[in-house]
Symmetry: C2
Subunit: 423 residues, 2 copies
């Protein structure tokens, strides 16, 4: 692809991020009175008043502002915004009695759900480590390590391997079914890899590198489809595939059929998630100084599956999900898959030098910039029709926030720069 085109894409990202996206958050997310971040905004960017602060949204926000600061986006205010969130996490959300973070708070600062959830704790490690890397303040890493230790103690299944994910306030394993205590998920294991990568980057400790390597092995040997290299969402304790169900404690807005199962509950994979997996794996291998060649096939399978089946060459963007063999089940366009595909397609190009990945990048970039960004506010629509009409209209809530799209903008900007320089 011509350098001029790539440079234009880069400028478009930079201008939008500095002038629209980060200002959206700078103007409205700090809760001066009660601490932490306000995270619920309607289609006009107005505080929707929802009385909750979730572990996910608070930690992801800390990550966003820390990463922006470390990568030179958003200016000095990013640092103070990150500090503000860390203070809230440690002073209000940390469970000093049992260790770990509460899952949900009301705005006044009272915990409303004290359960210990693996997904939330992976983001606690990720964001607190990034905070220390960005600011040099050691308190982030100190708590990231505490959370790491708690997961090793309470979450690991020492027989079948991998991590359990749903616990009571006191870290007792929850019961089966919707309570989640009999299942293991792709999501948690992928985000633990992501978290341990940044933890190791911040600590340099052998144990963090060792557990990072093991998390990669879990994903490759147990979680990813042996033939297609695509992600399988849910498993039983022994790593047999389990039907994908909705949990009582959700961490996203996945849509389920009546009865709480996915329509194709045992043959379902997400293109955006697979692309995210592959670029996170590449990043983990780089930070851990592991041999990338060992995982070449896995990385290529994930990237090519996303490229071959996920990209909507007609209307732009990436579809939601489909079968491992390739057939698309859900052709709508959700915000986070677009964000992860942008990073993934650039990494895939850098890894394979196949121009088709740059074309895919461009196809999704245009969908994002031409349709998904709601320029009236600066944030993204959460869910659109295949053609690009908004279906959901909120700008943020506990499961949307800004981690996917800000990270995508920062990393896409840098990776485009790398491609311009290398080619």
């Amino acid at each position: 692809m011509e350098k001029e085109i790539l440079k234009n894409l880069q400028s478009e990202i930079k201008n939008y991020t500095e002038e629209k996206l980060l200002p959206f958050w700078i103007q409205r997310t700090i809760d001066i009175e009660k601490g932490g971040y306000l995270t619920h905004f309607d289609e006009f960017g107005k505080d929707s008043g929802t009385d909750e602060k979730s572990l996910i949204a608070q930690t992801r926000s800390v990550f966003t502002y820390s990463q922006a600061y470390r990568h030179g986006f958003g200016g000095e205010i990013m640092k103070s915004m990150a500090e503000h969130g860390v203070k809230y996490l440690l002073e209000k959300m940390w469970d000093a009695e049992n260790g770990g973070f509460y899952w949900m708070m009301d705005r006044a600062g009272n915990p409303t759900n004290k359960q210990k959830i693996g997904y939330g704790h992976s983001f606690a490690i990720y964001s607190l480590s990034e905070y220390t890397l960005a600011t040099g303040d050691p308190i982030g890493l100190e708590y990231a390590e505490k959370v790491f230790d708690l997961l090793q103690k309470y979450a690991v299944d020492t027989n079948y391997g991998g991590y359990w994910e749903f616990f009571s306030e006191k870290w007792e394993l929850m019961g089966p079914g919707a309570a989640g205590g009999d299942r293991k998920t792709l999501d948690v294991h992928m985000h633990l890899m992501e978290a341990f990568t940044t933890l190791y980057e911040a600590s340099g400790k052998e144990i963090h590198r060792r557990k990072l390597k093991e998390s990669i092995e879990i994903l490759i040997q147990k979680v990813m489809h042996a033939e297609y290299g695509t992600g399988i969402p849910q498993f039983w304790a022994n790593w047999q595939v389990a039907p994908q169900i909705k949990f009582d404690v959700v961490w996203g807005w996945d849509r389920f059929a009546e009865g709480g199962q996915k329509a194709s509950s045992e043959d379902n994979t997400s293109y955006g998630h697979n692309s995210e997996f592959a670029w996170l794996l590449l990043h983990a291998l780089k930070i851990g100084k592991f041999d990338t060649n060992e995982f070449k096939t896995n990385i290529e399978k994930a990237f090519y599956h996303s490229l071959n089946f996920g990209v909507d060459w007609e209307f732009g963007g990436v579809f939601v999900e489909g079968s491992h063999a390739g057939e698309v089940f859900d052709k709508e366009k959700e915000f986070w898959q677009q964000a992860e595909m942008l990073i993934g397609m650039l990494d895939a190009y850098l890894f394979t030098k196949n121009e088709k990945f740059l074309e895919a990048y461009q196809c999704i970039h245009r969908f994002v910039f031409d349709k998904m960004i709601n320029y009236k506010t600066g944030e993204w629509w959460p869910l659109m029709t295949r053609e690009g009409e908004p279906i959901w209209r909120h700008m943020s809530h506990s499961w949307k926030i800004n981690y996917h799209n800000v990270r995508s903008m920062i990393l896409s900007f840098e990776k485009l720069g790398q491609i311009i320089k290398e080619d």
Copy 2:
């Protein structure tokens, strides 16, 4: 078996333990000057002067005196002897910087090997928990829990399951081969089950019960021979059987051929160890209030293998080891297998009500009392010919000490009492 016979066996145990065995230790093990226990005694019971105090011998001694005290053997002095050893463990052998216990000390109180060894830490948990159960002093359980937490953090293989066993001073996983960093063993997993049982008995915490259950599952699903139910000594990371080799850091006096492998390195099992496994499993199921029926077949296989192939009906006692299918490779008589078979055969009788197990008990009991006990000192010979002539002649060193035989005497006494009462 007639009650009179059982009662006589019981008296023989009680008299010997109170008048000979425990006095051996009371008279010579306390190191008043340097703390901890002296643990090296020659065939005359004289201090051999070996300049070492091992984690195994110190922790096992703490267990011995604590258990004796809890079960009403040996009188009040058992309590102060246990306290004396705990003090040494916590003040001299605890590595305050990295957590965990040093592996080896000289007599003066300097660590000579600071490696962190899983086997030693399983005995730290076991003995410190027993100490709190016996004395009510909470410091034992406090450190047992610290060690448990360290093992969960540093020793678990979160991909394949189970525990790694050989670490550097700073808990970094050791390299392959004789350094032990690429192998998992029956020994450590069995002793972790033993340790977690007593830890849970002392703490009542859900996490300890959960890890106890998982340790049982590891043993049943991965470690024990699928067909014969017998113990397989060594495995690779992924639980494929590995040839049984000698490690640089040893924890016993197993004999190996030239080059450090067992002669039948992939088909070798110990009758005494299998019997110990089965009775420890029964005890774990009882303390954890798990369903014994679920493991009935496993327990019976282990007991019957020991009974059918291990017992020497001609000369008495139990052989050292042989093949999983049954053939005996080593017909000598070692101290600890006798001790564990005594407990095992009584538990096997209580479990199955098959009189043959009582006959086996009697056969081994007679070998111990007629040949293995060196009445001149009160302790047992470590290794004898099949016929009962001493081969090795020391009364104690780092890998012998008193945990197997004192525990055997106490539990055999109690189980005989239970049989007398029940029948």
